[in-house]
């Protein structure tokens, strides 16, 4: 046991000596959560638009002001002709253009239904859609007010946003970030650090020591487990105190599930290092085989239900998908173990399978 702790201590030394890696390890979750919390948003504000106002009267000016005042748009170009609008599109200066006909204002006052022409840059279809919708609703409320009988509204609506009243993006990013960081630290770091010892030949040195191979491996992964737990704690705390992301469910259950996921990521890391002897290969397998699927198919950034069916089925074998469901449920819905036992069981199953395969693989290589 004493020898074992000597080993663990050596691993800690390795990590703490390497100030750069350490800085990145703790800086990364910090920087990412701040970015996601403050900078990354799908909501569109201040989109640059161009206006070609051939009408130039009270109505068109008022409508333009209304659009500017909405906060969604910024007037970047007050064009004189169609060519200048086209050029602005090509240079990427504007996302949308509004064109008023010459008699727009006159026709409007006479109730002659003038047409308002909108051109959207649909190279980004989502933004185009959203912007057109914004403009339409601004125009609609504008016409509404201009009519005498403006009380017409046959159907009212009322809605409630459950779990996330203010529709904050961080609610989704905090669980997603924890998943990715855990994957990165536990799986990628372990696989690289084990293959590094193999590359340098120090692995053999340790294996000829009186310690059992599996204790060598366990000693290697303990520091990374610690780092992972600290990292997830940082993200949770930042999420809670900086961005008000709640933890509705039980903190103990949450930590237990996090540790379960760390174990599954660690066994994946060991599995990778048992297949290869080269750091570069380990890195690339982790990148392509672990991180990419985790980012894409865990539902973190891209909603799963929009993907083709084969991809949705494929996502089922990615532990991170289940972990994301678990952690979202506990944090945001306040679920208890009775609600998420199936996902937990699946995650535990994956962990067991990965651990078994890597044990078998390791034995085979040693013989």
């Amino acid at each position: 046991m004493k020898r074992f702790f000597a080993f663990v201590r050596k691993e800690f030394y390795h990590i703490f000596r390497d100030k750069r890696t350490l800085l990145i390890l703790f800086g990364m979750p910090l920087a990412q959560i701040l970015l996601f919390g403050f900078a990354i948003t799908n909501e569109i504000k201040n989109a640059d638009i161009g206006v070609l106002d051939n009408s130039k009267d009270v109505t068109s000016l008022e409508l333009i002001n209304r659009i500017k005042a909405s906060g969604y748009f910024k007037l970047a170009e007050y064009g004189n002709n169609t060519e200048s609008i086209e050029e602005s599109f090509r240079k990427g200066k504007i996302k949308l253009a509004i064109i008023f006909d010459r008699d727009f204002g006159k026709n409007f006052q006479l109730g002659k239904n003038p047409e308002l022409q909108i051109i959207a840059d649909a190279s980004d279809p989502n933004t185009a859609n959203t912007l057109i919708n914004y403009i339409s609703s601004i125009v609609m409320s504008f016409t509404h007010e201009k009519n005498i009988n403006n009380k017409i509204s046959l159907i009212n609506t009322e809605f409630r946003m459950r779990y996330n009243e203010e529709l904050k993006g961080v609610y989704l990013f905090v669980p997603g970030l924890i998943t990715i960081i855990l994957m990165l630290v536990s799986a990628m770091m372990t696989s690289i650090s084990i293959t590094k010892e193999k590359e340098l030949g120090t692995m053999e040195l340790m294996l000829v020591s009186p310690m059992k191979p599996y204790t060598v491996i366990i000693a290697k992964v303990i520091p990374y487990t610690f780092l992972s737990i600290i990292n997830s704690a940082i993200i949770l705390i930042l999420g809670k105190f900086v961005f008000d992301v709640p933890i509705q469910g039980s903190l103990i259950l949450l930590m237990a599930e996090i540790i379960l996921f760390i174990l599954s990521a660690l066994s994946l890391g060991i599995l990778i290092s048992s297949i290869t002897d080269s750091q570069q290969v380990a890195l690339m397998i982790s990148l392509v085989g672990l991180l990419l699927p985790v980012i894409l198919l865990s539902g973190f950034i891209f909603p799963l239900e929009n993907m083709p069916l084969w991809l949705q089925y494929f996502a089922n074998i990615i532990p991170a998908k289940w972990f994301m469901i678990i952690i979202k449920s506990i944090m945001l819905k306040g679920s208890g173990i009775t609600d998420i036992w199936l996902e937990t069981l699946l995650l535990a199953g994956f962990t067991l399978v990965f651990a078994l395969i890597s044990v078998v693989k390791f034995k085979m290589r040693l013989e």
Partner: protein, 380 residues
């Protein structure tokens, strides 16, 4: 200068002999293009909705049908009450619950416009974007629905005087550059950039530091080779591979995924080469400041994640706060993404993106000069 050729030759041999690198260089792009193009979509469809129609009249059924048959929603449940809907929301059976009040039709026909006629909606808002868009889609379906009722029954709702001066604006809109609103046309060019960036930066970051780790760097450093010769010799093979990847990726995007190439592919290519030189310079810079591959990998990962998140690839830069927009000025990835999209979809030429060329050249020159400066043959 002849020395450079020997380094280039050696690098090529080493790359093509490395069994691990080959699949990464040739298979990863394909996987990424296929996987990302299928997975990376914000196109929000198939939201799971549960509708509770308490009226069961002609009009309510009409609205029910309109929502259920829309592309955006899939009817997965017909809950009987809010509490039932809440449970279904908890277990993820539905994303949205919509309740049509009793007397819905009667209230509309009788012009009984008060709060009684309220459609109630409940959203699972963990994914804020999804909930927001869902709400938006529903509101516009309901808006259209009531609009058409008014339109076809003007005489019920307006007096003849009102009808004469009824002011309205018709909106016609056209979607330029991507009339079918094909999401792949938007994402694939960006993914192309992602690919080139990752290959360029990772390969170069790992390269010099690997020689440090196995010790061959000293053997190079005692030779009379010049620092810039060494860096250029290392850069060329990776540049050729990266350029190949870019061309290959563009072929896949245009031929298999039918992304339009409105502009001139050579504009993208020439920009891409300068961009790659910048990426390689960044990688070498990382390489010269780190001691081992693990460090190099981590730092590149860290920098790339930030660059990519702030590049406008997934989320539009316009929506970022002002201070973040200033930061993105220093993000080379952003410029290439803009250029690829501008050229492929809008047909912009050299004249339109001259500024981009200038900026990326500054990046390429300064990153590589820094790398050459930081690389020391004699350590302190």
């Amino acid at each position: 200068m002849k020395n450079i050729l020997f380094i280039i030759e050696k690098e090529f041999k080493q790359i093509f002999r490395n069994k691990a690198m080959l699949p990464i260089i040739f298979v990863m792009p394909i996987i990424q293009l296929f996987l990302l193009s299928n997975a990376a979509t914000f196109d929000i469809r198939n939201l799971k909705i549960g509708i509770n129609d308490n009226d069961k009249s002609t009009l309510s059924k009409e609205l029910f049908r309109k929502i259920a048959s829309s592309n955006y929603f899939v009817l997965t449940s017909i809950p009987k009450s809010i509490s039932e809907a809440e449970t279904e929301l908890d277990i993820g059976k539905i994303d949205i619950y919509l309740e049509i009040p009793p007397n819905f039709e009667k209230n509309i026909i009788n012009k009984n416009i008060d709060n009684d006629n309220t459609i109630y909606m409940l959203f699972n808002a963990i994914d804020g974007t999804k909930a927001g868009l869902g709400n938006f889609y529903l509101q516009s379906i309901i808006g259209d629905f009531s609009g058409s009722i008014i339109k076809y029954n003007k005489s019920i709702y307006f007096s003849p005087e009102e009808m004469i001066v009824f002011k309205n604006i018709g909106i016609t809109y056209s979607n330029w550059y991507n009339p079918e609103l094909n999401y792949n046309n938007f994402m694939l060019p960006g993914i192309l950039v992602l690919l080139v960036t990752m290959i360029g930066t990772f390969l170069s970051a790992m390269n010099i530091v690997r020689e440090k780790e196995i010790g061959t760097i000293d053997q190079i450093n005692v030779t009379p080779i010049k620092k810039y010769e060494f860096i250029i010799g290392k850069l060329m093979p990776l540049l050729i591979i990266g350029t190949f990847e870019l061309i290959f990726g563009m072929f896949i995007a245009v031929i298999i995924f039918k992304v339009p190439l409105v502009g001139n592919g050579l504009v993208i290519l020439s920009f891409g080469i300068i961009y790659l030189i910048a990426c390689l310079g960044l990688g070498f810079l990382i390489s010269t400041t780190t001691d081992n591959q693990q460090q190099a990998m981590f730092i590149s990962w860290f920098i790339l994640v930030i660059f990519i998140l702030l590049s406008g690839l997934f989320t539009p830069i316009e929506s970022m706060p002002e201070w973040v927009k200033y930061i993105t000025i220093f993000n080379p990835v952003k410029y290439f993404i803009e250029v690829v999209r501008l050229v492929m979809l809008k047909g912009s030429g050299f004249g339109d993106i001259g500024r981009h060329f200038l900026i990326i050249s500054v990046f390429a020159i300064s990153l590589n000069s820094l790398a050459v400066m930081r690389y020391k043959k004699t350590n302190i």
